[in-house]
Symmetry: C2
Amino acid sequence: MEATKDFKVTLTQNSRLKDITLQNIPFGKCFTDHMLVADYSGGQWHTPEIMPYQALSFEPSLAVFHYGQAIFEGIKAYKAKNGSVQIFRPMDNFQRFNASAVRMQMPEVPEEIFMEGLRALIDLDKDWVPDFENHSLYIRPFMISSDHAIGVRPSENYKFLIILSPTGPYYAKPMRIYVEEKYVRAVPGGIGFAKAAGNYGAALYPSTEAHKKGYDQVLWMDAYEHKYVQECGTMNVFFIIGDKAITPGLEEGTILAGVTRDSVITVLKEMGLTVEERPLTIDEITEAYKAGQLKEIFGTGTAATIAPIKELGYKDFAMLFDVDKWTVAPEVKRRMDAIRYGDVEDRHNWLWTV
Amino acid sequence: MEATKDFKVTLTQNSRLKDITLQNIPFGKCFTDHMLVADYSGGQWHTPEIMPYQALSFEPSLAVFHYGQAIFEGIKAYKAKNGSVQIFRPMDNFQRFNASAVRMQMPEVPEEIFMEGLRALIDLDKDWVPDFENHSLYIRPFMISSDHAIGVRPSENYKFLIILSPTGPYYAKPMRIYVEEKYVRAVPGGIGFAKAAGNYGAALYPSTEAHKKGYDQVLWMDAYEHKYVQECGTMNVFFIIGDKAITPGLEEGTILAGVTRDSVITVLKEMGLTVEERPLTIDEITEAYKAGQLKEIFGTGTAATIAPIKELGYKDFAMLFDVDKWTVAPEVKRRMDAIRYGDVEDRHNWLWTV
């Protein structure tokens, strides 16, 4: 590894890689040898530094602790069959990151810091990308406000970081989902489309209540009438009704514009399905179920790719599915994996080689 | 200062107090010699520690950076005429803090940690309470999630802190306020009633847009119809219409249950006004203005106490006020200050002596 021209690089003197088996590591608890840190102050971004993964020192007055200016992204890198490391659609995450930054009144991160930082960091820690089936390297870029002062205003200082976490296969056990009619995730005019920390913290209580009722997650409804489907836990959601795939549209700004969602729409169309992005009510869903037309429901996201939903509970009515007989969701997952691990040609230019 | 029985106390060896003049310090940038830190892990709170104010070490995977479980309170302590230090209604803030904790799926902080911690910390740093007119010690209790792992779930570890900041007089310059019809602060079923960090970060973009239009803050409207008044910037809001004071009610859970709001309601009633807590539309406000019945508008909060609003802009219509001729807002502020600085008897038991 040469020192990258535009980054200050400090290498670890004590790699932890030799002590770790990269197989079946639980999600989000193990981090690679290095991280990237870039500071924003005085109205500009300064030269990023790649340094050993380490704790940082923050005063208790750190702005993000008090006023929640914090955004993040989730991206995955894969060890392809040819040995190269491939990142899945990072430009899309980069663009969404900056859309989140604008909404949270944070400075946009320049492409050369985000994308070239990603490339340099992963190149340095490429031996941490697991070379096992269904494994990947989870990439977490994030930004926090870092003024050391309390007072409700946009910070003048920010910190952008990228950390990397090798992760084992995500077994998407078919889920039991509950239609949430009381708690609301997002409203038009709010921050639902942004990958802002506050959206996740606000969802934990309703999710925990669903767990107490025996469900894995909630299916969020719209804020106004509690009848239009939004998203599922922290995933976008697709319904296979007849020969169509239906997923809520993005126009209200209340759901996350998932990169996996967009990829799945493309793959579904390639499979010959009609895909509709449009308002979808829980009544239309229950009626389709009763008529035998609701075939499959699945969530989509970076972590799970495709997460089948075996039960959807709406008030006292349980919609049950025999996931083993599904045809669409498994085929979408198979095609997505084939692209990500380089088994088939990447015709959409989704992969970005380190 | 004796070591408090139930707290571990480490005193600073190098007080900064001798280097500081406590007069006219800007808000939120100067902190006292000590802080309180209590850790939650393994399902319980551990013995709090009072230690020198200092930076702490956190890994980049710190949960609050990613998923925004963070809540806070704002309380003020005053140097009374008799020399004692008086805290204004801290039990109310303590109870609201724990209501916020529940909504954000965080552990409630025991009274002996929050209230006795407050007392012990302020007693230790009591020489930091400014002894100048209109000055106070701002108290910032807050809690953050502190797992060192990324993954959307409630943390298992939390950190509760109290930091103290001496502050000069808050000159509540009469404000120009803009009726916000596009962006939304909170919705029923959301976290609007909680003093959660995410509520503040989400409000910064709309506030900045208002600044660009020449306004100081926004007046938030309801999420459904954008016609019912909610709150003003980060303050509750009161309208004096005829001989009544009207302020939005708390029943929807979309506005903060301000401690100052509650105190102002009490004082207004003592002044002989009828106080109505009820839904209030922007149409009712404009009609009252046109009829010459809308006399005063003011925000209420811990920082400003009473913040007069000299202009309310709704679409292209500007409602203008001659603040110098007002009678209600100045009298409320005078009575509130008299209580807080010990000039009159504390008949409501609002003060808590350290």
